[in-house]
Amino acid sequence: MFTDDAGKGGISAGGPGNSENSTRRTGGDLVQLITPAGERISHPEFDPWLQDVSDEQLGSLYEDMVVIRRIDAEATALQRQGELALWPPLLGQEASQIGSARALRDDDFVFPSYRDNGVAYCRGVKVEDLVRAWRGNASAGWDPFTVNVATQQIIIGAQSLHATGYAMGIQNDGADCVAVAYFGDGATSEGDVNEAMVFAASFQAPVVFICQNNHWAISEPVRLQSHIQLADRASGFGIPSMRVDGNDVLAVMAATRIALDRARHGGGPTFIEAVTYRMGPHTTADDPTRYRDANELEDWAAKDPISRVKSLLDRKGLLTADLEAAVAAKADAVAKELRAGTINMPEPQPLDIFKHVYSTPNSWLDRQQDHYSRYLASFGDPAEAASEEGAR
């Protein structure tokens, strides 16, 4: 009963010949359109989905990736300077995030994980909102309905079910937008991701699962999560899948467009494995030298997602001094905006702790709030009392 048209014609990573052990293999079925040296490889299945990508748009994708890398570096610096409590770097995953996010329509709805700051940036989330939660000024950064992006999920894989449920709602509404779940390789071991695929397949919901296989779940390598390619898992649920070079912005964009188009036209869910690499630590609190080899990092540095687009632009004669200057200026401006937005972020007030637990008044909480206000007031100056309380 499941549509599995992608299983034909080589788009799917599934199939009986695909039984090699997971992490080391990068040949065969892995779709790559730009080589690490910046050479554009033609691909009969994927190329038709990129015909409208002009030279100018290629430059724009390059700019997005440079800017988000700069945001990421600035946020890491802000953490080191004590302005953020924590930050989860996306260094190395720029193509996976920008390529997929730039394929979306405004009315599509994204359910991201905490590392998907590049996706959020593309959707129009304000840069200071990217760090609001990491500074401790809120539980989450933004109103999901202003940008059609749910707040970033910290519970691994939980958002895959939210995306699937949202997609079931789209189906009921008769709309043609799509829900998109972003998660990592570790999440594919979670029950929620597997249940999401069961539900998505059963209801043929218009949802796209984008799995950024960055090879590491904190210290655990992807081979601990799966004995087969992650993309191959989808076929067990009756869900077509693609396995693409996640450091190749065009391959990711084409795959996402294929999946979105299928979902919009009643073809149900798709699973995309974007094979990439987390070049940095899990978060700023992590120390990857304790668990991974420096050689591995070096191998992946040679496959950098930004340098290969830069080389491609150069080969095409598009890497002008003007373009480079414009991209650098944009990155500088955004980094400055992020820094200023972070440092000048208004502090939450003590009684904000009680806000929004419920949407209507709650007698228990009202009483606790009343008692705590009286306690604060007993010090005279409530602001002073709050800072003393916090210092203990």
Binding site: T151, L161, G169, D192, H356, T360
Partner: protein, 336 residues
């Protein structure tokens, strides 16, 4: 007024909600063609279609997580958890997502999800079919928790729960599903007693007896038996377990000076502990005796031939009433 069973009353309330709001959608295992294992959703899929009364795969976290997504999309999902003991796979989605979403998003995303849970024992079931997990949820901020004790409340409160913009755990006493009662189906929801209010079921002067869900009937029977011995028991049906209606509880205890709380769930960390502690804090100088709890034991729910020892019955409740009144009781002579 119509005479109907408890299960029928919930069914009728669900029907009304489905009719009144196109965004209401029912989800659960076996709720469609079968009408639910207790037939609470009988006939609803036939009348409202498979898109509004959805048979789901057998995955409780999946049901709850997709309900979150549907709520994001503007729907009002009503989720059936088939049995109390099956709710734990959904615990993470309930506690980490459903309960926290409104707070996390500073009010931008509402979670108007109703989670129906047939709960409690007394029906001779195997393991995992007779539990009382309500305290896990009353301890979780962001959730509202109610339990109904009679067909009229079942009918009214299911609609109030569905209309609530906050998530509501709705605990249904499964051993009372076949009890009959009068139900006024023309009730005006906004005029009806708020879902957050407790109700004095029987007025009395000597002792306050607090119950909810399946034990409200037992508590009433106990009060009637006590009356024969000249003891006047005031019975309160909590209805709302979170938040608790301390206004009603305090007024009663200030009058009687004595408090007995009963529930099927184990004693430690149960609702009785919260009622006893809060009432002691608020009404200490009105209390004539220490609050008494008559509850299930702190054991896994026992095999069915022993369950009547576990469940507080009329005589154990009366024994607790005697303790509160300082009359001879099973623990007379013991300290503390």
């Amino acid at each position: 007024m119509t005479q109907m069973t408890f299960a029928r009353a919930i069914n009728s309330g669900l029907r009304k909600s489905l009719e009144n709001d196109p965004k209401v959608i029912l989800m659960g295992e076996d709720i469609g063609a079968l009408g639910g294992v207790f037939r609470v959703t009988d006939g609803l899929q036939k009348d409202f279609g498979k898109h509004r009364v959805v048979d789901t795969p057998l995955a409780e976290s999946g049901i709850m997580g997709t309900a979150v997504g549907l709520a994001y999309r503007g729907y009002r999902p009503v989720v059936e958890i088939q049995f109390d003991g099956f709710i734990y796979p959904a615990f993470d989605q309930i506690v980490s997502q459903v309960a926290k979403m409104h707070y996390r998003t500073q009010g931008a995303v509402k979670m108007p999800i109703t989670i129906r849970v047939p709960f409690g024992g007394g029906i001779g079931s195997p393991e995992h079919h007779s539990e009382s997990p309500e305290a896990y949820f009353t301890h979780t901020s962001g959730l509202r928790v109610v339990s109904v004790s009679n067909p009229q409340d079942a009918y009214t409160m299911i609609q109030q729960a569905i209309a609530s913009d906050d998530p509501v755990l709705y605990f249904e006493p499964k051993r009372r599903y076949h009890d009959k009662g009068e139900v006024d189906e023309t009730v005006d929801l906004s005029a009806a007693l708020s879902m957050e209010k407790a109700r004095v079921v029987i007025e009395g002067n000597d002792v306050t007896l607090v119950a909810y869900g399946p034990l409200v009937k037992t508590a009433r029977d106990a009060a009637l038996a006590a009356a024969d011995e000249g003891v006047s028991v005031e019975v309160i049906d909590l209805r709302s377990l979170a938040p608790l209606d301390f206004t009603t509880l305090e007024a009663s205890v200030r009058k009687t000076g004595r408090l007995v709380i009963t529930h099927e769930a184990g004693q430690s960390g149960g609702l009785g502990a919260e009622v006893a502690a809060s009432i002691t804090e608020r009404c200490f100088y009105h209390l004539e005796a220490a609050p008494v709890r008559v509850t299930g034991f702190d054991v896994p729910y026992p095999y069915s031939k022993l369950e009547m020892h576990h469940l507080p019955g009329l005589d154990r409740i009366l024994d607790g009433v005697d303790r509160a009144l300082g009359r001879p009781n099973s623990l007379s002579g013991l300290e503390g």
